[in-house]
Amino acid sequence: MYKILNKETLAPDEKMYVLDAPDIAGKTLPGQFIIIRIDENGERIPLTIADYDRKKGTITIIVQEVGKSTIQLGNMKKGDSIFDVAGPLGVPTHIEKYGTVICVGGGVGIACIYPIASAMKQAGNKVICILGARTRELIFWEDKIKAVSDEVYITTDDGSYGRKGFVSGRLKELIDEKEKIDRVMVIGPVIMMKVVSEVTRPYKIKTIVSLNSIMVDGTGMCGSCRVEIGDEIKFACVDGPDFDAHQVNYDLLMNRQKVYAREEKEACNKCKQEGNVNACK
C-alpha cells in the first residue's frame, strides 16, 4: 500500500497526488512513469512521474479524470492508500546541454514537462517553456515552471489566458524569432504532438515526444503499447516513452488509443447507474 501524503486540485478534472514511495523516488529520473492499481479489482494505470523528492521519498503524479478508474482515483483523499505502485518505468529522458531547449506541455502534459524542463535547465540549457490548455483554469504549475525556465509562454484555445491559439502557433513564432533552437521536447495530447512535430520538421529541429499508449504491465511483456517509429515497431513502455517526434506514426497511435472506447463508456454508464459520485462526466 502506498499512502497519499498530499492531494491538490489543480484544475477542475485534474488532481495532484504526492505518494509515499521511497524506493521509486530514489531511482526516478525525468521522463519516467509508474503503474498504479487503485484496489484489488483495479486496472493497471500508467502515469508519468511529474515530480519526485529523493530526501522525502515521495513521487508526484497528476491525474486527469477521464474514465471510471481515474475518476475513482480522483475521489481518493489525503491519507488514503493506493494498492499497488510499480516503477520507475521507461527509459529516462536524455538530458544534456544542447543550448536552447523549448519544452512544450499541453493539458495534463504541463505536469509531465516540468521535470524535463527542470533537468534541462540544470544541465545548463536555456529553457523556454510553452504551456497550453483549452482555457485559463486548466493552466497550472505556472510558477513552478517559471522557476526552472528562462522564458515561459502560455496559450489557451479560447484566449482566456495568455495568447489565444495553440502551442504549435506560438512555437513556430518562437522558432522564427529566436536565433537558434537546438531541441524541442513535447508532451501532451497525441494530436498536439503530431501538429507540433510538423511545425519543427521543416526546420530540422530535433524534437522528442513522450508517448502515452495503452499499457498493461509496463515492463515489455504484453506489447499493448506498440508504436510505429520509422519502419520499426517499438514498445512505448520499455523502448520509450520518449521517441523522435518526426518518426512517430501518430495516426496509428490515435487509433490504438481508442481500442477500449466502447468498454470505457460502458464502465462509465455502469458507474452512473450505481450512483457513484461524480462518475464519468
Partner: protein
C-alpha cells in the same frame, strides 16, 4: 482385485457446460479413484519414473502412501522435493516425463502419476491445514530471488528450508509469474496458486511485489543491500509478432496481452476494471499450449467461432495432446497447414479478416520437424474481429540491459555454466526460461532445485 490396464479416468466437466465459464475443467479424483489408480503402481525397485521427474519426487513412495490411505503423508512426501504439487499435478507434461518411463506404459496405460500428485495436493489443501516442515536454523545468509514464477518460488522454498533468509522481488502486483498471468483459471485455478505461494511464504520467504529489478533496484544494489547471492528467474516474457501487414490494427493481441488481461487482471469478470475485447469471431495463431489457452479463453468470453491457425499439421503441434483434445471438444475450429499473410482492415482501424495461405510440409528443419512451405496462389480469407498471436516469446531485456556484466547469448538469454547455473557475474545465478528459452513450468523448477543445491554448497563452504 485385478488391476486395470487403463488409467482411472478423471471426472471432467462436459464441453458444453465448461465453455460457459472459467471453472476448472478436470475435477480431480475422489479418494476411491485415487486409491484405485495408486494400486496400479508396480512399486518398481528401480523407480524409472523418478528419473523422468525434473525435481526427483519419490513417486513410488508417495503412491504407496495413497494406497495406504495416508493422503496427507503422500502430500508431504511429494513436498520433500516439490513445493508446488497442486500446480505441477495440473500443468506438468507428465506424458513426456515420469509417465513416459512408467513400466506399465510399455504395454498398457502408465500410472496416472500427475493425477495422483494433484489428488494428494488438493487433499491436503482441502483439509484447510497445511503443515510447515521443519526448517534449518537461520544461517544469517541472505539471498535475493528475482521473479516469483515457478523457478523463483522453487529456489526460494528450497533455500528457506535450509535456513537462508530469502526475498523474492516480483515485477507484477501478484506472485506466480506465468502461473497467474499466462495459464487460465480453467486449467489452473488461481486459488491453488495462491495457496502454494502462501506455503512458500510460510516457509519464511518474503515476497516483494511491484519491484522491478533493473528499474526499482539494480542487481548491484541488491548486493549492496546485503544479499550474498542473487538468483534470476525472470522467464521469457517478451511477446513475438509475425511482422505481417495489419498487425497493429485494433483487435490484434499478443497472446501475452490477451491472457494477462484475462488471467492476471480478470477482465472476464464484471467486477474487475480491466477491459478485454469481446467479439464474435477470433483467430488464434500458433500451435502451442499458449495458443490452446488463448483459444479456450476466447470461447469463454462468449465467442461464436474461434479458429486456431497453425502452419504445420497437428502432429507437429507443440501443445500437449490433452490440451489439443480439450480445445477440439470445446469446438475450436482448427485450420492446420495454414499461415496468416496479412490482417485486413475494416476501414476504421479495426480487424476485419485474416488473409491466410495454405502450407505443405517439406524437408525437416533444424527442429527436426518438417518445414512448412507456402502453396502459391492458395490465399483465402477468414473473417474475424480479433487475432491473437501465440507464436512464442523472447527474452525480456529489462533486467539484462541494466546489468551489462551478465553475459547473454545471441537471442538475449542468459549464459550459464550448464551444471551450476552460474552467470558471468559473480554470485549471480539464473535458471528457467531466461536461460533455456520458453519451456515448461517443471523444467524451470528442476533447474531451480539444482541451483539451490549449488548455492548452498557454495555459501556453506
Amino acid at each position: 482385485m485385478p488391476v486395470s490396464k487403463k488409467k482411472t479416468p478423471m471426472p471432467s466437466r462436459s464441453p458444453g457446460e465448461r465453455v460457459k465459464n472459467f471453472n476448472e475443467v478436470p475435477l480431480g479424483y475422489t479418494e476411491g479413484q485415487a486409491v484405485e489408480e495408486a494400486r496400479r503402481c508396480l512399486q518398481c525397485k528401480k523407480m524409472p519414473c523418478v528419473a523422468g521427474c525434473p525435481v526427483e519426487i519419490n513417486i513410488p513412495a508417495f503412491i504407496q502412501l495413497i494406497v495406504d490411505g495416508d493422503f496427507i503423508g503422500a502430500a508431504k512426501k511429494i513436498k520433500e522435493k516439490n513445493s508446488l504439487p497442486g500446480i505441477c499435478g495440473r500443468v506438468c507434461p507428465q506424458e513426456d516425463q515420469c509417465e513416459k518411463l512408467c513400466v506399465l506404459g510399455k504395454k498398457n496405460d502408465p500410472v496416472a502419476i500427475g493425477n495422483l500428485e494433484r489428488f494428494a495436493a488438493d487433499y491436503e489443501q482441502g483439509r484447510g491445514k497445511v503443515d510447515i516442515p521443519e526448517r534449518a536454523r537461520g544461517n544469517g545468509r541472505k539471498i535475493a530471488v528475482v521473479g516469483a514464477g515457478p523457478s523463483g518460488l522453487t529456489i526460494a522454498g528450497d533455500l528457506a528450508k535450509l535456513g537462508y533468509e530469502i526475498t523474492i522481488y516480483e515485477a507484477l502486483h501478484e506472485a506466480g509469474g506465468v502461473l497467474v498471468y499466462g495459464i487460465p483459471e480453467f486449467r489452473l485455478p488461481k486459488v491453488i496458486v495462491r495457496k502454494e505461494v502462501d506455503y512458500i511464504e510460510k516457509l519464511g520467504v518474503e515476497i516483494k511485489t511491484n519491484y522491478i529489478i533493473g528499474k526499482t533496484h539494480t542487481v548491484d544494489e541488491l548486493f549492496e543491500m546485503g544479499y550474498d547471492a542473487v538468483y534470476i528467474g525472470i522467464g521469457a516474457g517478451l511477446p513475438m509478432f509475425m511482422n505481417i501487414p495489419g498487425e497493429n490494427l485494433n483487435g490484434v493481441y499478443s497472446a501475452n496481452e490477451f491472457l494477462t488481461r484475462a488471467n492476471l487482471m480478470k477482465a472476464y469478470r464484471k467486477d474487475y476494471d480491466t477491459p478485454i475485447i469481446r467479439a464474435k469471431r477470433y483467430a488464434v495463431v500458433g500451435g502451442g499450449n499458449v495458443a490452446m489457452d488463448s483459444a479456450r479463453v476466447a470461447l469463454r468470453l462468449g465467442a461464436e467461432k474461434v479458429y486456431n491457425v497453425y502452419r504445420r499439421s497437428k502432429k507437429e503441434m507443440p501443445a500437449r495432446i490433452e490440451e489439443i483434445k480439450r480445445a477440439e471438444e470445446e469446438g475450436i475450429d482448427f485450420r492446420l497447414l495454414t499461415n496468416p499473410v496479412r490482417i485486413l482492415d475494416d476501414g476504421k482501424g479495426w480487424v476485419k479478416a485474416v488473409e491466410c495461405i495454405r502450407m505443405e510440409l517439406g524437408e525437416p528443419d533444424d527442429s527436426g520437424r518438417r518445414r512448412p512451405v507456402p502453396v502459391n496462389g492458395s490465399e483465402f480469407t477468414v473473417e474475424v474481429e480479433v487475432v491473437i498471436m501465440a507464436i512464442g516469446a523472447k527474452a525480456n531485456p529489462l533486467l539484462t540491459v541494466a546489468t551489462p556484466d551478465i553475459e547473454l547469448n545471441k537471442w538475449g538469454y542468459i549464459v550459464v555454466d550448464d551444471k551450476k547455473g552460474m552467470t558471468s557475474k559473480k554470485s549471480v545465478y539464473a535458471g528457467g526460461d531466461i536461460v533455456t528459452g520458453s519451456a515448461t513450468v517443471i523444467s524451470a523448477m528442476g533447474a531451480a532445485r539444482k541451483i539451490a543445491k549449488v548455492i548452498h554448497e557454495s555459501l556453506s563452504s
